[in-house]
């Protein structure tokens, strides 16, 4: 097996002023694969994603190792970090209604990623943006470029977001609940587009989600997080064979169409799981 793109060991993140760590001792590696991170709200999965890009201004991030390709992310200056963000590692945010700037044209916002990292004219960057919008299956991209975020639909907005984040051809993309804000009917469409692009370009994808079925279908491996720790790591297809009681609890708490109409199992959370060493 080749060296992983991302190698994280014993990652701790603490928000400024918080009494405890939000992420405590998370370790994982990422190759050219699709890695799912699943957990409840507040389990620290988004914090891990944002921590990797060092986007948390008030938080203290420590780790034994946070290697990305040939660089140690934690030893980079903020200036050097700017060259990593968007260019080599980017992130797709949850809700295009909030994650796109409301008063700037779509094309302008997408092209900005390219302009930021490559020396070229505005016109060339806009051409790149149009090509990328075409790649995320937006019809009539020239017209969409001239529109503002409030004029396009949620599904389209999220495809714009994907285009914006893949435009500079990064090696790793973190998708933070990329379809949670979308209508169920367009979810699959957006996911398929993202999946296709990630596979074609050999991008390492970290998919942060609370949706077990989504992760099962779109990821190779899954990390299960509980209270800032990884409690279990397993192949996505083996999700049903999970050993850890927390993972089993999560699976049991899922409603199924056609399943028994009995009340769903209540999720059991035990403090002693925090003391276990993961893996």
């Amino acid at each position: 097996m080749t060296r992983p793109i991302l190698d994280v060991e014993n990652l701790h993140i603490r928000y400024g002023g918080a009494p405890t760590d939000a992420v405590r001792g998370v370790s994982f590696t990422l190759g050219r694969e699709r890695l799912g991170i699943v957990g409840e709200s507040g389990s620290g999965k988004s914090t891990v994603g944002r921590g990797l890009l060092r986007l948390l201004p008030s938080a203290k991030i420590t780790a034994d190792k946070m290697r990305f390709e040939d660089v140690e992310l934690l030893s980079l200056t903020e200036e050097q970090m700017l060259g990593v963000r968007g260019r080599r590692m980017s992130m797709i945010l949850q809700d295009p209604k909030f994650s796109l700037n409301p008063i700037r044209k779509v094309g302008d916002q997408v092209a900005e990623t390219y302009l930021r990292h490559f020396k070229c004219s505005r016109k060339d960057a806009l051409q790149k943006a149009i090509a990328m919008l075409e790649a995320v299956k937006i019809r009539d991209p020239e017209r969409v470029c001239e529109q503002y975020p409030h004029e396009i639909s949620g599904g389209m907005g999220q495809r714009v977001m994907i285009a914006m984040m893949l435009l500079a051809d990064p090696d790793v993309v973190i998708a933070d609940e990329p379809t949670s804000a979308l209508d169920v009917t367009v979810r699959l469409q957006v996911l398929n587009i993202l999946d296709g692009l990630v596979r074609d370009r050999g991008i390492g994808l970290i998919m942060i989600s609370h949706d077990l079925n989504l992760v099962r279908n779109f990821c190779d491996r899954v990390l299960i997080m509980y209270a800032g720790r990884v409690v279990e790591t397993l192949a996505a297809r083996d999700l049903d064979k999970a050993q850890h009681p927390y993972t089993r609890g999560l699976i049991a708490a899922q409603p199924r169409i056609g399943g028994a109409r009995a009340p769903l199992a209540v999720l059991d959370r035990r403090p002693e799981w925090l003391e276990e060493v993961s893996r």
């Binding site: 994650s99 796109l100 700037n101 409301p102 990623t113 409030h150």
Partner: protein, 340 residues
């Protein structure tokens, strides 16, 4: 979606609103004029006039007619540009006001330029460095600007900067020596002196303008700073800021290209309102600096009960605010695609 028809309707609706507001304003000024405990007849004929003279003037002013009829006369007068004659100066009121307004506009314009030029960047700096020392410093400075009585800072500044250090000009719009040297074409001394090619007068005017304008500017910057800070904090917490950072934009680019462009609309509104209240007349500073402006004019006429002048002044203040609101509405459309 913007099509032609709704925006046309919007424009018509806006004109309608303005007309109704203006009518309401006229009713208000009329009522103020009639309700004030001042006797316009007595002010005209003097204390020693006979009863006959008094009655005659009373009738000639139309005061014997019913109130609603008087209002329509007033409305007709205003619409034909007749605002009455000032009792004090014997000149048409509008002519007096055209004489004092440029002085105030000059002062207010410089003050708002200083106020916004100081307040907006300070607010942005404070928001970006929230809870760190630049934020605390800015907050203390704006608290001072907000709470210091301007007549007091005005006098202290005059004593120190003019009387003791002689860095700036004293009271009035220019040095005594230059008064009457430049013909009044526009009424704006800075422009008139340039037109006449009198550079000495120009610099004297600048020298006299700088202190009162700075003081007014500082006091309005206090408000502008606080509002800018809170608008910015609002925007910096938004998710699209994270997007901008994920793209690899620097702090500077994120702040100015993404957050700041989103507060322009709100800024325009508060700066326009601040400008409006400066135009309305900074009575205190005009008094301290013997600035022959609108604020002084209004106050002195209020005191002697020259109602034609007072009513017209109130009307003008109203019109200024309507115009500024209209202007900021138009700038909204320019700055925010969602309102188009």
């Amino acid at each position: 979606m913007s099509t032609r028809r709704p925006s046309m309707q919007g424009a018509l609706g806006q004109i309608g609103t303005i007309l109704v507001t203006l009518l309401g304003l006229l009713v208000l000024t009329f009522i103020i004029g009639r309700m004030m405990p001042a006797d316009p007849v007595r002010a005209m004929v003097g204390e020693d006039a006979t009863r006959e003279t008094y009655e005659q003037v009373f009738r000639s002013l139309g005061l014997d007619r019913p109130l609603w009829e008087q209002f329509f006369y007033y409305l007709g007068d205003v619409l034909t540009g007749n605002f009455g004659t000032s009792i004090r100066t014997g000149q048409p009121v509008i002519q007096d006001i055209l004489h004092v307004m440029p002085a105030t506009m000059e002062l207010a314009t410089f003050a708002i330029l200083i106020g916004a030029g100081l307040g907006v960047p300070m607010g942005v700096i404070a928001a970006v460095n929230k809870d760190r020392w630049p934020d605390h410093l800015v907050r203390v400075l704006s608290l001072f600007g907000h709470s210091m009585p301007i007549f007091w800072t005005g006098m202290i500044a005059l004593i120190v900067l003019y009387a003791k250090l002689d860095l700036v000009g004293g009271s009035g719009r220019m040095d005594q020596f230059y008064i009457g040297l430049v013909p009044e074409t526009t009424g704006f001394l800075l422009i008139d002196s340039l037109l006449a090619g009198e550079m000495d007068v120009f610099w004297s005017a600048v020298n006299h303008l700088i202190l009162p304008a700075s003081l007014l500017g500082y006091s309005s910057s206090a408000y502008i700073t606080r509002m800018t800070r809170s608008f910015m904090l609002d925007q910096l917490g938004q998710e699209y800021i994270t997007t901008a950072r994920v793209k690899g934009l620097s702090k500077h680019q994120t702040i100015w290209r993404h957050a700041f462009v989103n507060i322009r609309v709100q800024l325009v509104t508060i700066v326009a309102l601040a400008y409006g209240s400066l135009l309305e007349g900074a009575v205190l500073i005009e008094t301290v600096f013997a600035w022959p402006g609108f604020g002084q004019y209004l106050t002195s006429n209020l005191i002697i009960g020259d109602m034609n002048a007072v009513m017209t002044c109130v009307l003008i203040v109203g019109v200024i605010f309507i115009a500024l609101n209209l202007l900021s509405d138009m700038l909204y459309r320019l700055f925010d695609p969602r309102t188009r």
